[in-house]
Symmetry: C2
Subunit: 353 residues, 2 copies
């Protein structure tokens, strides 16, 4: 601790992202990136922007075009859309603008590990709600929160999806508090809660271009919600950084939303791969939680998760392992290409058999 | 005010950036952008990154390569460099990580208008130190601050530079508090305080690629300082957003730093234009403050500033006007190309003569 650090810097417990190894020949299944490149139309749109001399000019601080495009995609208005530098930044603004110190919020005990990080840095008390034994959310324990609710759907790293009628019960029992549904993986699942926005003014849906749109490297995330919630996020952005999304990211993200054919194609492919990978793992003695994401969360009946993680790492296959109860014997594996997953299965066979 | 907003959202007084008009045929001299395009090597580096399929992968959260490049440019180590999404984000992290509620900081009364915005949102008390009558900083009134000091050098919107020996006096009289020198415009001035970093562990220098490197559209800023100060900023970033700078911005910014020849050429050109524009304005009855930036701050002996701003706007020339005492009769004009500035001078002649 430095004498120059603020109290905020001292109490912070920073998030540790999955490794980004520069090493070649690695099979990278540790940060839930898309194994396929972004739509060729994204590259084309960025090329076109590069050929203007506009890079010398600030981007649009209001991002109207991209917000209109995203809104139209969900049947919503621009005023229902907030755009930020990845969904992590959107979540940070949501913690700042919609949750309050002294009013405890609730999130699942096993969930995206950035939530407690935001809560600590912005001094927001929180209650961690244990999952049910089957790792589903214990819905009623989110009712009547003091300060609000946040959970991913599907949840991470469990990969389990909560149906919309259950989400509606949480919304109905938190009428005066904000409920944030963090849908980073929802394009690999049944349905988005975006359809509930006109019905519930306390619902904020957060999404990202990093997973299903294959644009983790471009840093674009967004939130959908009632006009008043969006205004609250805009107030935070404009008190922090007027232009968090650059010119290339703005045009690239717009092109990604517009190319629905490509998006559907790669999403379908990932879901197909997920299906056979799940079956293969099961046949090798793994229990695989029912995934509606682009990863699987799994445990082997005898082989310890941490040892498997290490052994795969030595074979240049990176997956994610969390040394946290009660998931300390699970591993999280991103769905890669068919070829990558075949190599993974082969490596696992070599290790455990 | 929405019932869903936090106290932070309610007390926020968001920054209002200069207009980004989409309109064609406008001469845009209102946000201090560079009139020249970025180095061709920046475009080339972004093209190369685009031709990989890496956009699907997260960028480096530690940004080692860019930090090493920037460090080398200033004779510093990677550990002395922090990179963020524009210098506004860097400043936001600095307010969060290095200043504290209850310990008033000091900044000039006439200065970058984002400082009070950060202070309000993060609940940091502040004292605004009046400028001297000639608009220079009243150095001794920054001595022995309770919570720290921040000022731009050159100051904005006055354009006036404070020599390094005066900055050293402020540093020496604030040994246990952080002094932030915000050098957005320093490449158009005498010298950076970066050379003082090894001498003063309480000095943080903040810079941007948006002005002299012609990359406002790419969103890259950085801070230079003692290892401990940089660690404090990294703690804030990693409690907020692991990857605020995207893959294209990382390679573009690196190429911009490396192409020193191009950088020197456009910077020299802007300074030359500033010289003749100053003389022209003086010959038309303007008082022009001695600028060491890529803009001039000026007042006419008889013609009111606000009327001049409006009249130029009607002629499709955008400049910046702040309706704030004691600068309510000044206008800020970004230095554009020679051709743009000739048109500006012609328009001013038409208006005031």
């Amino acid at each position: 601790m430095s004498k120059f650090w603020s109290e905020m810097a001292k109490r912070a417990e920073p998030y540790v992202p999955g490794e980004q190894l520069a090493k070649k020949n690695i099979i990278k299944l540790n940060t839930n990136e898309n194994p396929y490149p972004p739509s060729p139309k994204v590259i084309e749109a960025i090329q076109n922007e590069l050929h203007t001399t506009n890079l010398r000019l600030y981007p649009s601080p209001t991002m109207d075009e991209l917000r209109t495009t995203i809104g139209a995609y969900y049947g919503l208005d621009k005023a229902n859309v907030f755009v930020g530098n990845g969904s992590d930044e959107v979540l940070a603004f949501a913690f700042m603008g919609l949750f309050d110190p002294g009013k405890p919020i609730r999130f699942p005990q096993i969930t995206y590990s950035f939530y407690p990080v935001y809560a600590k840095v912005f001094n927001i008390d929180y209650e961690e709600v244990p999952l049910n034994d089957d790792f589903t959310l214990d819905v009623e324990r989110f009712f009547e929160s003091v300060g609000g609710v946040i959970f991913p759907n599907p949840n991470a790293p469990t990969s389990i999806y909560l149906p919309l009628h259950e989400i509606e019960r949480i919304l109905e029992h938190n009428k005066d508090r904000v409920v944030i549904v963090d849908e980073a993986y929802v394009d690999f699942a049944e349905a988005s809660a975006a359809t509930l926005i006109n019905k519930y003014d306390n619902l904020l849906v957060v999404q990202t271009m990093s997973k299903s749109r294959a644009l983790a490297g471009l840093r674009v995330g967004f939130a959908l919600g009632n006009n008043e919630l969006i205004k609250g996020l805009i107030r935070m952005k404009d008190s922090f950084n007027s232009y968090p999304v650059d010119r290339l990211a703005l045009v690239g993200a717009k092109a990604a939303i517009e190319d629905e054919t490509y998006f559907r194609e790669i999403t379908k492919k990932i879901i197909q791969t997920r299906t056979w990978v799940t079956e293969e793992l099961q046949s090798l003695g793994f229990k695989v939680l029912p995934s509606q994401t682009n990863f699987v969360f799994t445990t082997h009946e005898t082989y310890p998760a941490e040892r498997l993680y290490e052994a795969l790492r030595q074979r240049n296959i990176l997956i994610r392992y969390f040394k946290t109860k009660p998931i300390e014997n699970y591993i999280r594996i991103t769905i890669g290409t068919d070829e990558e997953m075949k190599q993974l299965i082969r490596a696992i066979e070599e290790i455990i058999l």
